[in-house]
């Protein structure tokens, strides 16, 4: 167990050290000549709009994230099933088939309601 994850831990440490180290080194050796234009938001040369953070995003994105959550859970259910379904035979397939079919109805419903349209 520990043996398995030790190399991963080492890799993580090495990667972090590499990434953070690069940032630190560059901040040490790089020049620093700030001016107001550099420090303002880039908007293709226009005067930056004031409050970008009050912008609200289209509800589409929320819907995508919500659907992602739902189908992610479905996908996650597929993995343990993929490993064990052989021992359940056709019953196992039917079981996942029903699950997928029910969510398939939800999917078709959503398709029909335009939930997947990006307009």
């Amino acid at each position: 167990m520990f043996e398995e994850y030790l190399p991963v831990l080492i890799l993580a440490v090495v990667a972090t050290a590499f990434a953070a180290g690069s940032l630190v080194v560059s901040s040490l050796v790089g020049p620093r000549v700030p001016n107001p234009t550099k420090l303002s938001a880039y908007e293709c040369g226009n005067e930056p709009l004031a409050e970008i953070r009050t912008t609200r995003f289209p509800i589409r994105f929320y819907l995508v994230a919500m659907l992602f959550l739902i189908f992610d859970i479905e996908t996650v259910f597929l993995y343990p099933w993929a490993v064990v379904f052989r021992s359940f035979g056709w019953f196992g397939l039917a079981q996942m088939g029903v699950f997928v079919a029910i969510l398939g109805v939800a999917f078709v419903y959503e398709f029909g309601r335009g939930g997947l349209e990006w307009d």
């Binding site: 020049p31 938001a41 880039y42």
Partner: protein, 409 residues
Amino acid sequence: MSEHALWVPFFRAIVVFVYFLLVTAVLIWAERRIVARMQARLGPNRIGPFGALQTLVDGVKMFFKEDVTPAMVDRPVFVLAPLIGVIAGFLSMAVIPIGGEVTLFGETFTLVVSDLNVGVLWILAMGSIHVYSVFLAGWSSNSPYPLMGGVRASAQMISYEIAQGLAVASVVIYTGSLRVGDIVAAQSGDGLFPGMPGWNAIVLFPAFLIFTIGMVAEAGRPPFDLAEAEGELVGGFHTEYSGMKFGMFMLAEFMNVVTMSAIMVTLFFGGPSGPTFGLPDAVAWVMPMFWFFVKMSAFIFFFILLRGALPRYRYDRLMSLGWKVLVPVGLVWALVTAAIVLLEEQTVLTTEVRIGLGVAAAVLVGALLFVGAAPEDADAIPDERDPQDDAAQAPGAADRAENAEEVGT
């Protein structure tokens, strides 16, 4: 996993780290050369043979560039975002075997950081962590283009994560194990007939197609590089980044190409397995590394070709493709795979029947794939709602007035 000397884990981690870093560096150079060739240019050719050291020099140059941190950013998150990208990128390589068994100083081990027992899920999990890098870069910049680019890119990534997850699920269903080592081992034998490789790409062709599309979208590469469509969003989520922080994003992006190619090779093309041509054992251990590198390079080349050849996709089309085509096809294919596996187990299918079944299934799913991917008019449900709705919902203007008010507040 047997006990090894303490240096072995360090060796594995560092070898893989350096390996992928080098391949990424070569990729950046190769891409510039190849795309240049496709555009009848020369590309970098000054530093080193054929300009091969250009990447190195560029990397060094990055250090001496000014790292501008605009005034409006959210500093801690602004710094964190590129780090997450690079770290997640390196970590997702942890389960990919880059070669076969090697013996070094009396220790025999496989050239992989660690063959985790949740292998393929580890890859997906790191992919889902990578989303944060993009999203947080956009959010912390506090500037219009990055914000839009970040949200767009993360929506794209999560959409294709599902499709990719389903394609990987087919592989797991076929193999019956989550461990990458098992998946590679299962592909090392012969295919449907002797002499044909037992690659999953052949048996699970639809899953392979889905994964191919998904990997390009996940990596945010052309033709799916909507997040940084310079015509609309300037640089996308990293517009406000400069200096080494920008360098990190660039590294992460190119590393993603390498990782995706490596995963593709591992899951669908048998990883490092391949013929050894009866070489003596002393040399034979090089062959798996060679095969892995060749296969991976082929996919990296594919990525570069895509970039050189294809125009950018439209964002709505991209999302439609992911949700309306890849997800349903992936789900159906996962079940079909399971059915085939069960048939295989219960009855002894003849090779002809197998091939027939496989071709039929592939044609069916492929047809679905292309029917779905056809231009919108072909599959759009005629929208009967809107005109009636506007007419019927008499104070439709009220609706809009409401919005205006709401936006104002």
